[in-house]
């Protein structure tokens, strides 16, 4: 019994940090509507800064001053980020904000390694809380007790600040309707900056408080951000009480999950999140989100199929791509195959996002399932390669059918979060079910058969399948099904009123996108000769998102260009510099700030402007002629 009590207390102590970070994210989202992916990075920076400060400053006072000082310094960094970067992107679609803050995360990860080195750092124990309390033979660290008390104190302080101060009233008002608050003459700029500063302070404080408990390392940002996403989604975005309750719930699930279901401990949390989202899509303490105000003028130009000339151009491009093996070496061809595979993957997500309006944050799940499908069929069943390539993606289809059914019941940020959660479930199954998947060691020896084994043959196979997939998706976009999907994205109200079953259409689209991602994964397994849980991981999902947004989400086939640029750039950067994440993050931010329409989007805008310009002038000419 005593053991369970101690376990419960450990869970509560972990909840404190999680709550701090999650409440910060929630507050920032409430006012600025930015889902701050970089929140984990600020948490990590807080921990590193606290490590340095507490090492320099001696004594008990020095330690606590170091913790607070670290949080304040990082908050100041947050203010700079808000003023320099975020102010420029408040008006762009929420996905781009997520992308920009993701770019920031990448940069911080490299900067941290640059400043503090790659190895784990062990911080000082907290003065006054070094010992442990004996509880019926079980030890409870006194620092844990300190954290357990701290959590509710911070909650109370935040609550008082929001209920009793003028600033708090403004923040709550802005959370409900920021346009109205602006119309009432409140200086929104500083309100946003101060809110962001508070949120970052909470994240960094949470990170700083972790140093007596855990080693500081440069991977702690992604680990916490996933937990934090889960917490705010369960608690309800924008609700601080919700963040507290959910942080406790998640931490306790983690603490007891390991005892009760050691095999599926990671899954447990995500299962709870999935259940909460399905029963209460806006979280336990959240409110249903009002329909977003559509940014006008964003997607004014209706899509049209390619003209004959453009088709010829695409065909010429394909032939050119197929001629590459005549000049390129084996390494270049392997890179080329990888790019082709990611074109397929990105195109499948692009279809879901741009046509369906469904931004999946866990699309890698279906890529990875396709890869594992191939590995199972090839290694366990010993099927020939062609059959594996055909049947392997069916695992992706199956996964997309099951998860997609639940995911399409939601939309927007919540859809993104649920897909992320599902991807994490699949990842943890692959990671923990060692008997079947080999766990972290993966499945090795999935090599292509002789006819496809040489780099040039495999390259041609990949390019061929990529071309087929992209062409098929284009046909789909302009088919009645594609229009029904777009209709539902444009106006769910109108499409339901003309007899379109939006959820079923979206579900079908989700399954199609999952299947095509599975095809990409199947090829990927053969390219690498192996399958690891990484192929289901968050970073791969985010890669795909970046490719889509880079190409331009409002275009028909922008993802193709986005995938080529992003993949080529990242492979090249890794070979050129140790700081590839820093450069890549910088490039992503630059693109979001300078080209929010994506590369293809910008090209289309230029072309349309030129076209309408020439139309105008010819119209003018004809008018002048008729006048004469």
């Amino acid at each position: 019994m005593a053991f369970y009590v101690v376990q419960f207390l450990t869970g509560l102590a972990s909840a404190a940090s999680l709550f701090l970070v999650a409440s910060g994210l929630s507050i920032i989202f409430g006012v600025t509507r930015i889902v701050n992916f970089a929140h984990g990075a600020f948490y990590m920076l807080g921990a590193y800064a606290a490590y340095t400060l507490t090492e320099r400053l001696s004594g008990a006072f020095g330690f606590w001053a170091g913790i607070l000082g670290a949080a304040l310094i990082v908050a100041a960094v947050g203010v700079l980020v808000e003023m320099i970067l975020l102010r420029r992107i408040y008006h762009v679609p929420e996905l781009f904000q997520l992308l920009a803050t993701f770019g920031l995360t990448l940069m911080v990860e490299d900067l941290v390694v640059l400043i503090w080195g790659p190895s784990d750092l062990l911080g000082r124990r907290a003065p006054g809380f070094k010992g442990a309390v004996d509880f019926f033979g079980q030890n409870i660290p006194t620092y844990d007790l300190f954290l357990i008390v701290l959590g509710p104190i911070v909650l109370a302080a935040l609550w008082l600040m929001f209920q009793r101060t003028r600033w708090g009233v403004l923040v709550r008002a802005a959370t409900q309707d920021r346009d109205m608050v602006a119309a009432l003459g409140v200086n929104q700029k500083w309100l946003f900056t101060s809110v962001f500063a508070l949120g970052v302070f909470l994240a960094a404080f949470g990170g700083a408080l972790q140093i007596p408990r855990d080693a500081v390392n440069h991977a702690m940002d992604l680990r916490i951000i996933v937990d934090v996403f889960v917490v705010v989604v369960i608690g309800g975005l924008g609700s601080i009480v919700g963040a507290f309750v959910a942080a406790v719930l998640v931490s306790e699930l983690n603490a007891f999950g390991i005892l009760i279901f050691p095999k599926i401990s990671i899954i447990l949390v995500f299962l709870v999140m999935a259940v909460v989202l399905i029963v209460r899509p806006w979280g336990l303490f959240g409110k249903p989100e009002a329909a977003a105000r559509r940014t006008p003028g964003l997607t004014l130009n209706p899509w049209r199929p390619l003209t004959t000339q453009e088709r010829m151009l695409a065909l010429a491009g394909l032939i050119l791509a197929l001629a590459v093996p005549l000049v390129a070496g084996n390494y270049a061809l392997t890179v080329g195959s990888e790019i082709a595979i990611f074109v397929i993957f990105a195109a499948s997500l692009h279809f879901l996002m741009s046509v369906g309006g469904l931004a999946s944050f866990g699309h890698a799940a279906y890529f990875g399932l396709g890869a594992y499908g191939v590995a199972f069929l090839a290694k366990l069943a010993g099927l020939p390669m062609l059959l594996c390539l055909l049947l392997g993606p069916l695992l992706g289809v199956l996964g997309a059918a099951v998860f997609g059914f639940f995911a399409v019941q939601l939309s927007g940020v919540y859809f993104a979060m649920l897909t992320l959660a599902f991807a994490q479930i699949v990842w943890s199954v692959a990671f923990q079910w060692v008997e079947l998947t080999g766990g972290d060691n993966g499945i090795l020896g999935v090599w292509p058969e002789k006819w496809a084994a040489s780099p040039s043959h495999f390259y041609c196979l990949s390019i061929g399948i990529a071309a087929l997939a992209v062409a098929a998706l284009r046909v789909l976009v302009f088919s009645p099904f594609g229009f029904a999907l777009r209709a539902n994205r444009d106006s769910p109200l109108r499409s339901e009123a003309v007899g379109i079953d939006g959820k079923r259409i979206q579900w079908t689209a989700f399954v199609i996108a999952g299947g095509i991602a599975g095809v990409a994964g199947a090829l990927f397994a053969y390219l690498k000769g192996s399958v690891f849980p990484d192929s289901l991981g968050i970073s791969l999902s985010v890669d795909a998102l970046v490719m889509v947004l880079l190409g331009g989400v409002d275009t028909v086939s922008g993802a193709v260009v986005g995938a080529i640029i992003y993949k080529a750039l990242s492979i090249w950067l890794v070979s050129q510099t140790d700081l590839s994440k820093l450069v890549l993050g910088g490039v992503i931010i630059l693109i979001v700030v300078a080209f929010p329409k994506g590369v293809v989007g910008v090209l289309e805008t230029i072309r349309n402007r030129r076209r309408s310009h020439s139309k105008d002038s010819s119209l003018l000419r004809s008018q002048i002629e008729s006048a004469e």
């Binding site: 006008p296 004014l300 088919s479 009645p480 229009f483 029904a484 109200l493 499409s495 009123a497 079953d501």
Partner: protein, 263 residues
């Protein structure tokens, strides 16, 4: 007109949100080719009534019969399949498509082609879509992006979309709200003409009494969720309760009408 079949019959329809009774025991009937107006002050329950009729909102109690079928609690898309077109108070169209494509989407849904992954939508039922656009005088706008249209044009486009399933009943929630006076009259004349020609029943809500009294065959007056009057435009205009609650006394309209009668 009495020989026309009953399209819609509503029996004791009610809706309450918590303790608020938005609609209380409303009953009425509508026949083919008849134009019925639902009027009343703001908050009378007109839009709630509409939303219940096409399944947007679930009724608390009561019964809705469309073409002899009980449609109480059916989803909007199922009601649409029975032959009900609907326009919204704030237009709902597909802004990223062209005007023609907007109509084509409704047409391909009507022909049950939604899961067709092969055909080319831009060429799907082009002629029929063109006819529908001509019908609402939008033929010249077919290739324009819908997002560029002026509000009055959007209202007409919505009418074309609503007509795509060859409806027997049109539900129009404030069809002329936000339009210029001349556009209003044109749109309602158009609607009335189409309704008479195709023998479509029309139920509409409207705040513009010029439009209501000129085009409605019959008027229902709703106040605080209850039906307080029903009858011909003349009967409703003379009803003292309706005047007190909604129309007001000594209206400019009234004066104008008297002039018209004496002239």
């Amino acid at each position: 007109m009495s020989t026309a079949p009953t399209l819609l019959s509503v029996e004791r329809l009610s809706k309450s949100y918590g303790g608020v009774h938005a609609v209380r025991g409303v009953s009425f009937e509508l026949k083919g080719g008849e134009i019925l107006a639902l009027i009343g002050p703001n908050g009378a329950g007109k839009s709630t009534c509409f939303d219940m009729l096409n399944g947007q909102t679930r009724s608390s109690s009561g019964r809705i019969k469309l073409l002899g079928q009980d449609t109480t609690g059916r989803k909007p898309r199922e009601v649409w399949r029975l032959g009900v077109g609907r326009t919204f108070q704030i237009t709902a169209t597909f802004p990223t498509m062209t005007v023609r494509e907007n109509v084509q989407v409704a047409l391909l849904s009507f022909r049950r082609q939604l899961f067709n992954v092969w055909a080319s939508t831009p060429r799907f039922a082009e002629v029929e879509a063109g006819h529908l656009l001509e019908l609402v005088a939008m033929g010249g706008y077919a290739e324009r992006p819908c997002g560029e249209l002026a509000y009055g044009d959007l209202k007409r486009l919505e009418l074309a979309i609503a007509l795509a399933n060859e409806p027997k009943l049109l539900l129009m929630d404030e069809p002329t709200a936000g339009m210029a006076p001349r556009e209003r009259i044109e749109l309602m004349r158009l609607t009335a003409r189409i309704a008479r020609e195709k023998s479509i029943g029309v139920l509409f809500t409207e705040h513009d009494m010029d439009v209501v009294f000129e085009h409605a065959d019959r008027i229902l007056v709703l106040n605080r969720g209850t039906l307080i009057a029903e009858g011909s435009p003349e009967q409703v205009r003379r009803n003292p309760e309706v005047r007190a609650i909604y129309l007001g006394e000594g209206l400019v309209y009234d004066a104008r009408h008297r002039e018209g009668a004496s002239a």
